[in-house]
Symmetry: C2
Subunit: 111 residues, 2 copies
């Protein structure tokens, strides 16, 4: 259990006037948010920017992604953090079910 | 030397009628292309797809990225492979200097 890494790639679109805010938040992320990411078994987490477009990449090393995501969603500090990050997004830019980041499909992997 | 990992995120846009071709090529990549990727110190290499948009992520573990990229560009088998993959792209979709994948800027990292 938990041995197989899962690879996540997600795309999002920021509001033009919120790019600087989003970059600033992530240049100095709250320690308790970072801690929750790690406790929820997300690792090697990067966000990349081009223009207004953001791409996030992370690896999941746990056994129950849904349960870990639920834990993160219920964390009060993470909710506060999202209160700052979510307004940066152009909502539903890539999918009508994904207001912020939208999961992409992994089509290639080389170790 | 070579201890510090560099993280690369790149975005590209495929032609609508070439998405299937691109996915098919990467579902079964040529072994010599994979070997060249590894010899050029690229690792943990994923490509993600959403619609026509592709995002690639990899880590560079070598000492001289420019030299390794030059080596890859000069590899005859890799050139043959690119002869199949490059026509899949909507050229210069994200930057007038990048015909295929365009480098994004890393703005966040959590280990």
């Amino acid at each position: 259990m938990g041995q197989k890494i899962k690879y996540f790639g997600q795309v999002g679109m920021l509001k033009a006037n919120m790019v600087e805010e989003y970059v600033g938040l992530h240049a100095d992320p709250w320690p308790d948010v970072v801690k929750m990411i790690q406790e929820c078994n997300l690792t090697n987490y990067s966000i990349f920017l081009h223009g207004r477009m953001v791409f996030s990449y992370y690896e999941y090393t746990g056994d129950d992604y849904a349960a870990d995501m639920k834990r993160m969603e219920e964390d009060p500090v993470t909710q506060q953090w999202w209160g700052h990050t979510h307004p940066c997004f152009e909502e539903y830019a890539f999918d009508q079910k994904s207001p912020y980041y939208h999961d992409m499909k992994q089509i290639f992997y080389v170790n």
